[in-house]
Symmetry: C2
Amino acid sequence: MSKQDLAVVDLRAVACCTPIAVRPMDAEQAVLVAPMFKALGDPVRLRLMSMIASVPEICVCDLTPAFDLSGPTISHHLKVLREAGLVDSDRRGTWVWYRVRPEAFQQLGALLEFSPANAPADPATR
Amino acid sequence: MSKQDLAVVDLRAVACCTPIAVRPMDAEQAVLVAPMFKALGDPVRLRLMSMIASVPEICVCDLTPAFDLSGPTISHHLKVLREAGLVDSDRRGTWVWYRVRPEAFQQLGALLEFSPANAPADPATR
DNA sequence: AGGTTGTTTCGAGATCTGTCAAGGTAGAGA
DNA sequence: TCTCTACCTTGACAGATCTCGAAACAACCT
């Protein structure tokens, strides 16, 4: 299914993995990565993502009832997650199954790694 | 300055740190955390955040020239980062200085931690 | 064919991004 | 002290984008 999704983020193009707390991110990389954070920036999508990521895979039929939203709305949110490159899906028989894309998920986490090296000095010592 | 910012996210309320890949996030937590991801979901704010996070602190006067945007626009984006609880600021003399809030930043990173335990099975073995 | 499951299309209302104009705050100089 | 200037934020606004549901569509099974 997502093989036909041409708008999907190309993970190879995401300059990989230097934490943003180590070196300022250049503009092109920011444009590539921001859509991933944006996709997680909605409470419904964040919960969908966590439901998908906490199991090997999950059927849409198990996702939809967890929300007080219509089927089409859930489908839209899932599409956003797919186009951000965070999840993958395929149909098997009647049902459509979603699973996380570990590379994307790990890259995002790596960007947020934080070493105290650049932390603000303690106000007391400043 | 940000002491008067009443809309700022209360970090104590952010159910702390269980990676979303380990356990599905409940609705209330999602509502609290999503604004942080949303704040990083814009290329300009992502770059601002990385510029702030990669040094102990930085003056707005050093942030603005890095973008092809007006002062008020940068100020608005900084306000979004502030209200998301990701950064802090205070005025010292003429200039306003921004610095990262390490607790918030680390919490966000912790949420994205990924253990292969729940990774999708290799398609070959599926 | 008929029923179930998901996605797409389309439209209304809300939210976001950016600019200009105006306001507040602090330092410098007369 | 009074004014001038620099720095940054706020308010008001237009245009773009997002969220969501109703209806239509597509894929699959029996």
